[in-house]
Symmetry: C2
Subunit: 625 residues, 2 copies
């Protein structure tokens, strides 16, 4: 599949955008006219830069408000078009996007529109240029792709064809199956965009909230299967207007974009095979001209192998882990790294190159069937491999960097609770006895607001984690958006949070801390033990327990137990949830959870209590300090 992207998706100057697209591996680009107009570079210089970067210039866009007009206006429009054709010749671009008329159309007549497009096609032919006519979802008279196709058919000119844009088609709820009826040679261009479910007017939705395929709610795999079946084999290009991308570094947006296309290729390939027809298939099924790349298939991760906390001074973290009942298994034989564990929960404390760093979650390990295949898949999906120096006799771990820079290690699942690398700490990673803590339940990672959609796409495409419904939780500094990414059996749960900016908070506003939650078979017993060991619990206000009583009518005994241990409680139709939080050290804290029956949530009603208590603590800490 030939990949392309519109320059309007990215921030920066035209030159910066082009360099970012080339670096991310795109085959070509669409030049958004405005990007050229504001550029100090001549068309010839842009053409030269594209050649140097090995980028094809696939489309010049958009040409607006052409057809369905009076003869007088048509002549003006033809003058304007011809100036652009001459410009395109200088750029070396042979296809122009012509959007259905939004503003100036006054003649609602397909024959008139077609004859005007034919006249445009005749002029274009003189310059060797093809016109790709696209129905905008808010076009005045022409707003669906089948209508646009009828006009293209009526125009009946070899230089007039169609441009299909998934946003304009899917946002109107149209059935993309009709794409298969369009002759492939009349599909001059294809643009893809996804979008979240929003009941917003379609113009605002389109201009601000488009996202890359896989980041929204549209069925782009379905769209692509129809496109492949139509026989189309031209560029598949991203055209995504998004307020966040416009403000984000263009290099990383381009990588995010490329990842989305690669993943879409794979899913399209799988969908076609499922429906009995893969490209190049020899078994009697039709072979399609478009070749689709595939990726190593990997199973979902089966558990957390470890969590890593990086810290300059790790004393406070060690104390918390000790109080929670974890045990230091040993120190790495060559590095300033410790392994702490309890049951199947392992925490690595890493002091390498950490001088002055406040404690923070820096890495996590996932158990996977085939670490090499999983890492290869992630890297093909444009994840950055992580290089950590290791000695010749040490376990070689596969790792990639997530969008928020957390390192994701892909570890071999042994099935027996041992971990191969633990021997470097003089341990087999298995703890005697029956510790109260059984494993890591979930890890909570805060995300910069600009990279949230990118992070969700990353975890879904590389690791096959599935996004659950997202939630918003009030805090004293604003709403915190929370998105859980989960393996199907719940063995791996990552909670991604976007913290509010709190830019003008009078009291500062520390980074939103991250945390590791341990699963526990008896949280009351563990909390008592932790209290004996002097744990600094996150305090829970008395008003919370009064409300709990009003909501759940718990017995007085139970309420006293909860309150005396700063335990939080939730209940739903699936079961009960008891949990507590430690104080925050640096940028990290810990949680211990007990899930009763089939409770599958995270105590969301309690999150505001935690956030307010942490806010109070941060304030008084700053006030005292």
């Amino acid at each position: 599949m030939r990949t392309s992207i519109a320059t309007v998706c990215l921030s920066g100057t035209l030159e910066e955008k082009m360099r970012a697209c080339a670096a991310a591996g795109f085959d070509g680009i669409e030049i958004f006219e405005q990007d050229l107009i504001v550029s100090p570079h001549s068309p010839e210089e842009i053409r030269g830069l594209a050649a140097e970067l090995d980028l094809s210039l696939d489309l010049f866009q958009p040409f607006r408000d052409f057809e369905g007009v009076t003869e007088e206006l048509l002549l003006e429009n033809l003058y304007r078009a011809e100036a652009k054709f001459a410009l395109m010749n200088r750029l070396g671009i042979d296809t122009m996007l012509v959007c259905s008329n939004v503003a100036t159309a006054t003649v609602d007549d397909d024959d008139v529109a077609a004859s005007q497009l034919r006249r445009m096609g005749e002029v274009a032919a003189g310059y060797g240029i093809r016109l790709a006519y696209e129905a905008l979802a808010w076009g005045k008279y022409v707003n669906d792709f089948e209508h646009a196709q009828r006009i293209v058919d009526l125009a009946d000119h070899p230089n007039v064809g169609t441009c299909l844009d998934s946003f304009h088609i899917l946002s109107r709820g149209a059935d993309p199956a009709g794409i298969e009826k369009i002759p492939a040679e009349k599909i001059f261009f294809v643009q893809l965009a996804d979008a979240p479910e929003l009941s917003l007017d379609v113009l605002s939705w389109s201009r601000h909230y488009r996202v890359f395929p896989g980041e929204g709610a549209f069925d782009l795999t379905g769209f692509m299967t129809h496109l492949v079946r139509s026989g189309y084999n031209g560029p598949v290009s991203l055209e995504v207007f998004n307020d966040v991308f416009r403000q984000t570094a263009e290099e990383r947006t381009a990588v995010d974009a490329m990842r989305s296309l690669i993943w879409l290729e794979e899913r399209t390939s799988v969908a076609l095979a499922d429906h009995g027809g893969a490209p190049g298939n020899d078994g009697g099924f039709p072979a399609y001209p478009m070749e689709l790349a595939t990726l190593p298939a990997v199973a979902q991760p089966t558990g957390f192998n470890f969590a890593e906390v990086k810290a300059g001074d790790s004393g406070a973290v060690e104390e918390l882990l000790f109080q929670l009942g974890l045990h230091c298994e040993g120190r790495h034989r060559t590095k300033p790294v410790q392994l702490w564990s309890a049951g199947g929960a392992r925490v690595i404390i890493n002091q390498q190159q950490a001088r002055g760093l406040a404690p923070a979650v820096s890495a996590l390990g996932l158990d996977v069937q085939d670490p090499l295949a999983a890492a290869s898949r992630a890297v093909q999906l444009k994840a950055q491999p992580v290089s950590r120096r290791s000695q010749a006799d040490e376990a070689v771990l596969q790792a990639v960097s997530a969008p928020d820079s957390t390192e994701i290690f892909l570890c071999e699942a042994t099935g027996d609770g041992t971990v191969a690398w633990a021997e470097e700490f003089g341990s087999d990673g298995v703890v005697e006895g029956e510790p109260l803590i059984t494993h890591i339940d979930h890890i909570n990672l805060s995300q910069p607001w600009q990279h949230f959609d990118e992070a969700v796409l990353f975890y879904e495409s590389t690791l096959s984690l599935v996004p659950r419904a997202s939630q918003e939780v009030p805090s004293p500094m604003g709403l915190v958006r929370s998105q859980v990414m989960c393996s199907s059996d719940g063995a791996v749960r990552l909670a991604l949070n976007i913290a509010p900016m709190g830019l003008e908070q009078p009291h500062g506003g520390a980074d939103y801390p991250q945390h590791v939650a341990f699963a526990c078979r008896d949280v009351v017993a563990l909390a008592r033990q932790a209290r004996q060991r002097g744990l600094d619990f996150l305090p829970v206000p008395a008003n919370y327990y009064e409300d709990l009583q009003a909501r759940f009518r718990l017995g007085d005994d139970m309420l006293d137990v909860l309150q005396s241990l700063n335990l939080l409680y939730d209940r739903d139709e699936d079961g009960e949830f008891l949990h507590f939080y430690t104080a925050t050290v640096g940028n990290v804290f810990f949680e211990v959870v007990e899930r009763r029956a089939r409770y599958d949530g995270y105590g969301a009603p309690n999150a505001p209590v935690r956030l307010a208590s942490q806010y109070q603590r941060a304030r008084s800490g700053r006030r005292d300090g």
Copy 2:
């Protein structure tokens, strides 16, 4: 009018919110239950704090999902309600908001809902508590206020009344005139919120995008006139869920909120008088129980008196002004301040307490009929007065601080082009001859994103400037939102811009610069003169002129003139617009504009060209530097 505000409108802890409300002058507050639950303070402590701050506690809210349920669930709900009544007694709050059932209602029967509310009322009566039943716009069976009122009537209990919320009523397009039919003694509470026009699902609209009255598109004055006519005389309270307010310093949000209520009181008073019935009117019209405060009426400003640039080193600004043909009239007799002018355009360069400051627009002066009345009005609307030290024999200028800290001076309009204060510079402020520059056309002020709605409300309420339709302009760092505030005759034009955050721009991203635009009778002549004087024009790319030719078919001569002088051009059905920009120094630049015929815009199609050129310059400046 008794003013109140829900604690959910503000950021911070409950204690911080209460202090901010008291400081802004509110009579009372609604306690949002969640704010109490997460507070470490007991109900008795909150009650004590309210007494200390002289705030009444007007409402406890919300109680959810009560009515329209099975008998079994009703008993649970009554248990939950009674726990809250006991809590309210401890707080000393006598009114509870009961929202129509969203989640658990299964019985769509008004008689059942009414009888269940009556039973709740009977229990509430034992605690001396009144229930204010409110139809949520997304209530399962009850979602309009007239329906809720029918249920209240059926319930027929003295402790069961209604709560009216302007958002829930106006967002559904309901006619608020029906409010007048409700007996005043059954209206237990009133909540106000405004909202922008958005085609968004009503729940998201309500939870994220509510704004204070006057900041949105709802007709809250109409709503209030119906309310006053109903005879209601209880608290009028703000309940505004807004993602920005949640992140903004609570003290300033509270002031913004209070301003909106004061202005609404005035407009309601005017509207009632216009319709022949003012409260307390003796002329035979009905007198209403609610007393509405009024403000000094002021006419719109009639022009710019001056713009002030503050700078540590003012050499570069002086050079630009000289090159544009302004003339230094003199230095202030006691302060390091200069007056520059041309025609009716005056620029003050202020070096007081400016050591190390990059040049920036710091103040502007407006010509008004009655400076004292205008300043008094602004201060009553919670604007901060500005105190500048002045000598006994200097003109006393009235000034207030705008939300972005720009100082707004209210100057006496003389009508003859002189300004009283100019004599302190040894000048009468009148320039001989016929300079090309005639006056200040507009001033462009960048706004922090958190204060945009506040700024619009500020300029509209204090100075009677009118907001024009807002626009969004693409820049290499994201979309810039632009909102012009204008006097009716166009003599005063302020353009407010919110710059994108560009948080992660690889190339940094300076503050979005502000500018002063001078009106000119011959921009070509002025540009030529400026070129002779060595002006550093903001460069305009050649590609722009090619596009201009394609769009407007200008003559080659004209195009050459424009291009040789870096002039930008626009044309619409009202006329033509020619303008150019200077280089940016510090955080300020200048523009010169010529309006031909009745052109009334700002060359919006050219704004992306300016932004891209400034971005290029800032980049290369940083690269070179």
